[in-house]
């Protein structure tokens, strides 16, 4: 178990070093995406002006306040509360995000599935688990909303955050087939029979 401090964008070599149970703290740029962002990018053919190559994306949609544009608030949005949503719904977009845009790091909660695991392995990527529901804390790691694309989708826009000491995040799926979620799920399934016996279940429906 090692800890890494990474500045984005990262290289394939940096990402392939990461193994499950390692921890990572990110600095510099982080892109926020979620359901509608990805549906518009990959099902409706919209393209972003952002260069996501080597970058990290997080499954999020922030609470923001509309303010006057200034050096501190170049988009006219101040971040109020930035947290993380359940990644499972975004499963089918991991591979195209990596293949078409060169994304290397996906941050979310609850984990992703086999297609994402394969993309991480084939293309060199990693899934970093953040603590879902700990958004007040996460917000303190966001320095600024630097830019926004697909503003019409607010709050599901494509957000460009500047982050500092973003983490520690847990490497939960790596590029070598390592996956903490399947480890935990397999172990939990093994305990199912014992749990049902403890509940006095005699015949499963």
């Amino acid at each position: 178990m090692a800890h890494y401090e990474l500045n984005t964008p990262v290289t394939e070599e940096q990402v392939r070093k990461l193994r499950i149970d390692d921890t990572v703290t990110l600095n510099q740029t982080l892109y926020g995406i979620r359901d509608a962002t990805l549906i518009h990018m990959f099902d409706r053919g919209r393209t972003t002006r952002f260069d996501l190559n080597g970058h990290a994306v997080i499954h999020t949609a922030p609470n923001v306040r509309i303010v006057d544009k200034s050096a501190a608030f170049p988009t006219g949005y101040a971040p109020l509360c930035v947290g993380t949503t359940t990644s499972a719904r975004m499963e089918r977009f991991t591979q195209p995000l990596m293949k078409q845009y060169g994304v290397r790091i996906v941050i979310g909660k609850g984990g992703l599935f086999a297609a994402s695991q394969a993309a991480f392995k084939d293309l060199g990527g990693v899934y970093l688990a953040i603590i879902g529901g700990a958004a007040a804390l996460e917000t303190t790691w966001i320095e600024q909303i630097e830019d926004v694309d697909f503003d019409d989708l607010n709050p599901e826009s494509l957000w460009k955050f500047r982050v500092r000491d973003f983490g520690p995040l847990l490497v939960a799926m790596d590029s070598h087939g390592g996956n903490l979620y399947t480890q935990v799920n397999d172990a939990a399934l093994d305990k199912r029979a014992a749990a049902l016996a403890a509940l006095g279940v005699k015949r499963e429906a």
């Binding site: 949609a61 109020l80 939990a188 199912r192 049902l196 509940l199 429906a205």
Partner: protein
């Protein structure tokens, strides 16, 4: 007692914001209990971060979680309350809209087909407003629950049959917890509805998931079932955030309703660890806020 609907509107605005920022004391105690008994290092670290987040939210006057949820208002009307029900509903909706615009909050509510967001947290039949009545004369109580989608997206109904008995209910609950894994943002409150019609069964599962920790089902059969399930589910090892350990759930809650001779329905709805709720109580002495 006559209710001032302007005060209700103001309270419904205040309740949404309070619920998003202040975690009820019973949930904080639930965290302390889980933290004390957690044996897994990752689980312990995750719980520590969640507990720290509660403090950061209070210190920075921020929302606990970015998911403002689907707003639910549970209204209980005392027998001596004089109120125009239709205008009461409107006051609740307006309070909810104002919280969203004036705080401001992220509106998480869209039309189900166009996906258009009105940026008011409101839409067709949303906020969800449930009415109940009490024989306590001069009390109007409004409970507000922002129900997050991570947990709500994992909701289940099974129309089991009488021949499957209670075993079907227990097996279903265990399998739902296994299927949910980390998606529901555990530790959760697992809400189980038993009996009723299909829709009532699902509604009861939501009532169960959003009840205070430490409260009990007032049907002794339901209370026994929830105690039995609560004692077992943390042995599954799903753990906080689905990353392993002993903290899969704070508790399993059960609510029951009579059902048909041919039916044995069971529903599961979960509340995430950001188990938020707030309550305003109107009496002749004024409004008090709590949980």
């Amino acid at each position: 007692m006559k209710v001032d609907l302007k005060e209700v509107e103001e309270a419904c605005k205040e309740l949404y914001i309070r619920a998003l920022k202040l975690l009820p004391p019973d949930i904080k105690q639930g965290f302390a209990r889980l933290d004390e008994s957690e044996t897994d290092a990752t689980g312990k670290s995750i719980l520590g971060t969640m507990i720290r987040n509660i403090k950061v939210a209070e210190d920075t006057n921020n929302l606990l979680c970015q998911d403002t949820g689907i707003p639910i208002y549970n209204v209980t009307i005392g027998s001596g309350i004089e109120v125009d029900g239709s205008r009461l509903k409107q006051a609740i909706v307006t309070g909810c809209e104002r919280a969203t615009r004036e705080h401001p909050l992220r509106s998480s509510v869209v039309h189900p087909m166009t996906r258009k967001n009105e940026h008011t947290s409101c839409g067709r039949l949303v906020p969800v407003i449930n009415f109940d009545f009490t024989d306590r004369p001069e009390v109007l109580s409004i409970e507000m629950i922002p129900k997050g989608s991570g947990s709500e997206n994992n909701s289940w109904l099974k129309m089991a049959i009488p021949a499957d008995g209670i075993d079907a209910i227990k097996t279903f609950v265990v399998d739902c917890i296994l299927e949910a894994g980390g998606k529901t943002c555990p530790p959760t409150i697992v809400g189980v509805g038993v009996g009723g019609t299909a829709d009532l069964c699902v509604h009861l599962s939501k009532v169960a998931a959003t009840r205070a920790l430490g409260s009990k089902c007032d049907d002794p059969e339901g209370a026994a079932l929830e105690a039995e399930l609560s004692a077992v589910v943390n042995q599954l090892g799903v753990g906080a955030q689905g990353l392993g350990g002993d903290s899969t759930s704070f508790a399993v809650h059960v609510e029951t309703a009579a059902t048909h001779i041919t039916m044995n329905p069971v529903a599961v709805n979960m509340q995430c660890h950001s188990a938020r709720r707030a309550r305003a109580t109107f009496t002749p002495n004024g409004i008090t806020y709590g949980f």
